[in-house]
């Protein structure tokens, strides 16, 4: 549950975004810019948060009135092993030290819905127990604790946003879901589903996550909020929608179901209470925008042929300072 500590009519603070090279950062930058905010987006080329001395470097960039958003991290497609976990924790350690030194006005951590284990509840919410089922989920839980403790000690208002599966134009990942389906539909005219693709997920459009983060900054919100849509669609439904977007026939392949069918449904009450005017992008609209962005004329088509490991974000700039 979130608590707001500032009138939404107040001017937005300058925002420092960690993870400039990620999927969310460019969209968040555009959103903040559209609302008249100033910002600084820091990527690995400026500060490698896994390296010694990173905390001091970072602290030097943060001013007392800033809001800081941490969207930096190595996602599962970069590795699911212990080394990746430890690298991610080193990043959190560096940020925690920097926060304690620089004491910004607000800190917001972009976590993940992976922290919940859906086996124990048919409807998850912000109060559901965090029960990490893999190292990636454990990483987010540990980071939440590390950063939360740092903020508590330094008395920095702290918020956690836990998005479900994010998709949209500029997606740098190739996880099972809309982004992979869109690329394979364009490249090979096929979409590969596990089994019948029954598993239901909240597929959250990246612009909606950026808007939620901006609203949290605007309200100086503290607490935890899940970035969810209110509707869980099955992978099969997503595949059908994407197939319908393509003019050519798209073949939907059904691979053997390798794992038990699980669903992840989320309760939107906390979101409705915190930001009643927020409106999630309809899945069909979000997929349409994502599909359009992957067309050759969009400039993002290069992504469609890139292998996951070599993919780069839509913007090559890893550091951006916007007015």
């Amino acid at each position: 549950m979130l608590q707001h500590h500032r009138s939404p009519h107040s001017p937005l603070p300058r925002t420092v975004i960690l993870g400039a090279g990620g999927f969310l950062s460019p969209v968040l930058q555009r959103n903040l810019q559209a609302h008249g905010a100033t910002m600084m987006a820091l990527g690995r080329s400026t500060i490698d948060l896994t390296k010694p001395g990173a905390s001091a470097e970072l602290a030097a960039h943060i001013q007392p009135d800033d809001a800081v958003v941490m969207a930096a991290g190595l996602t599962p497609d970069k590795g699911k092993d212990t080394a990746t976990l430890m690298a991610n924790l080193r990043m959190a350690e560096a940020v925690a030290l920097a926060l304690q030194h620089s004491r910004p006005a607000h800190f917001l951590y972009i976590s993940s819905d992976a922290v919940y284990d859906a086996r124990w509840s048919s409807l998850l919410n912000e109060e559901s127990a965090c029960e990490p089922s893999d190292l990636y989920a454990l990483m987010h839980v540990a980071r939440e604790k590390i950063l939360g403790q740092a903020c508590q000690q330094a008395r920095i208002p702290f918020a956690i946003v836990r998005p479900c599966a994010i998709y949209g134009p500029g997606d740098t990942h190739n996880s099972y879901g809309p982004n992979r389906f869109l690329r394979s539909a364009l490249n090979s005219r096929t979409i590969a589903l596990f089994g019948a693709g029954q598993e239901r997920r909240h597929h959250v459009f990246v612009d909606d996550v950026a808007e939620l983060v901006r609203q949290c900054i605007g309200h100086a919100s503290t607490g935890v909020i899940n970035a969810v849509t209110g509707h869980a669609a099955s992978f099969g439904e997503v595949a059908e929608m994407i197939a319908a977007l393509a003019a050519d026939n798209i073949m939907i392949d059904h691979l053997p179901q390798s794992a038990p069918v699980t669903h992840r449904h989320f309760d939107t009450r906390a979101l409705a209470l915190a930001f009643p005017s927020l409106q999630a992008t309809e899945l069909a609209d979000g997929l349409r925008q994502s599909y359009a962005a992957l067309q050759p004329a969009s400039g993002l088509a290069a992504l469609s042929s890139a292998s996951p490991a070599s993919q780069k974000p839509a913007t090559k700039k890893e550091e951006a300072v916007c007015p």
Binding site: G230, D267, T268, R269, A272, L273, P276, S277
Partner: protein, 444 residues
């Protein structure tokens, strides 16, 4: 007419209703409360609570009712009931302070051999401690009983005058005397003083006698069973909403099952409210925690209640009607937590209005009032029509009968929008749809 004069102390909802019910059963009643303005109002038939039938009851039996702020008047009664409602805080925990203050005022007035009966909502263990305390205070000649109240807001008068059974806790009962008196005879009454047994007999219903702790927990047990029915109905009603079933079609079949019953709580709602049920759940959790019992089902009931309380907000959120903070106008019918009561304790309507504090709201309730200072964004209306006027959506948050008979053909066109959210299904659904309105209710 019964010649015995019965004393009542503590004139909140419980004391007002039971003192009047006792008069209706033919007893002369002295009803005491230290608040002089309250007793003055009561003496003129002005009640601070709204209950169907209460005004008529008073009118018919006022000759036997004496309201007073003079505690010494209780010294003439051989049977004195303490019936002050125990209020709860925001965490649904009891505040026993006012009851203890009242007891300190009443007990010194008790006549030799008089019987003291507590009807206030007590946590298990309280009666025995109080009994010991009274003995320490040289009131050994005064027996203490705990009589379970099972009133229902909005139906309190009928339940008080015509109880289905009376449950009594005592320290004088052993295992051999515990049981039910289904015939109205005085078999369990052997454990009761004659004047108390005579009083109970006037209500013409079975008496169930048990030890203090059992009676205290019995009240909580009743409420737990009610909550379990509510939570089950709410859960299945939501499943209905998702799979195209209609809970209203299922309910008659359930009522015909004798294991469930014709009067079971099967109507889906917006979570539990009113305070009493919530208090008892908190008490069970405390007892379970102190004694190492598994009460996870109680936690599940509470979560379900919280979840359902926001059902209307969820529908509004999903509809997109809340996108425009400045221009959206919301009409609300009903503020009370249920029909036929003034109470707004834990009311879903008020919870919703708090959540909609960024929007312009206009609300009407036939009885319940709200503190304008806490709801500056809400304009309280004098009529249902006014609350519907120019609204983008109409929310029927309390199932008052008045709303069921509202002339939809005249009222709905006054709205600016065409959406009606009527969780309890008070309005004529088919008519709303015929008139071109989007209509939503629980369970379908």
């Amino acid at each position: 007419m019964n010649k015995q004069t019965i004393g009542f102390a503590g004139l909140s909802h419980l004391g007002i209703i039971y003192s009047a019910a006792s008069a209706a059963r033919g007893f002369s009643v002295v009803a005491f409360d230290p608040r002089t303005d309250l007793t003055a109002d009561l003496a003129h038939g002005r009640f601070p609570v709204a209950e169907p039938g209460l005004d008529d009851l008073y009118r018919e039996h006022s000759a036997r009712l004496t309201y007073t702020s003079d505690a010494s008047r209780l010294a003439h009664c051989q049977l004195v009931f303490v019936a002050l409602d125990v209020t709860t805080n925001d965490s649904n925990q009891s505040d026993l302070g006012p009851l203890e203050k009242l007891l300190a005022e009443v007990t010194p007035q008790l006549a030799h051999g008089a019987t003291l009966v507590i009807m206030s909502q007590l946590p298990p263990g309280y009666s025995r401690k109080l009994s010991a305390k009274l003995a320490d205070n040289k009131l050994r000649d005064n027996q203490l009983f705990y009589q379970v109240e099972t009133l229902v807001f909005g139906n309190a008068v009928d339940r008080a005058v015509h109880p289905e059974r009376i449950i009594i806790g005592s320290d004088k009962v052993g295992a051999d005397k515990v049981g039910s008196d289904k015939t109205g005879s005085d078999k369990p009454g052997e454990a009761l003083p004659a004047h108390y047994a005579a009083y109970l007999k006037a209500f013409e219903c079975p008496t169930v006698l048990m030890r203090y702790e059992s009676a205290e927990l019995c009240k909580i047990a009743i409420n737990c069973f009610l909550v379990s029915s509510i939570a089950t109905s709410n859960t299945l009603a939501e499943v209905c909403e998702r799979i195209g079933a209609d809970w209203r079609e299922i309910v008659p079949a359930l009522r015909l099952d004798q294991r469930i019953g014709t009067k079971a709580y099967l109507t889906p709602g917006l979570g539990i409210a009113g305070g009493n049920l919530e208090r008892d759940l908190v008490t069970v959790q405390r007892l379970a925690e102190e004694n190492g019992c598994d009460a996870s089902v109680v936690t599940a009931w509470q979560r379900n209640s919280m979840y359902r309380k926001d059902w209307v907000l969820g529908r509004l959120f999903a509809s997109g009607l809340l996108q425009n903070t400045e221009q959206t106008r919301i009409g609300v019918w009903g503020l009370a937590y249920k029909q036929d009561t003034h109470s707004t304790k834990n009311s879903p309507s008020l919870a919703l209005l708090r959540a909609l504090n960024a929007y312009s709201c206009q609300a009407y309730d036939p009885v319940a009032k709200i503190d304008a200072g806490q709801f500056p964004h809400v304009r309280v209306c004098d009529a249902a029509e006014e609350a519907a006027q120019d609204s983008d959506v109409l929310l029927v948050m309390t199932p008052w009968r008045e709303f069921a008979s509202a002339p939809l053909e005249r009222l709905l066109p006054r709205m600016r929008g065409r959406k009606v959210i009527d969780p309890y299904g008070v309005l004529a659904e088919a008519r709303c749809r015929q008139l071109g309105y989007q209509y939503e209710r629980l369970g379908a």
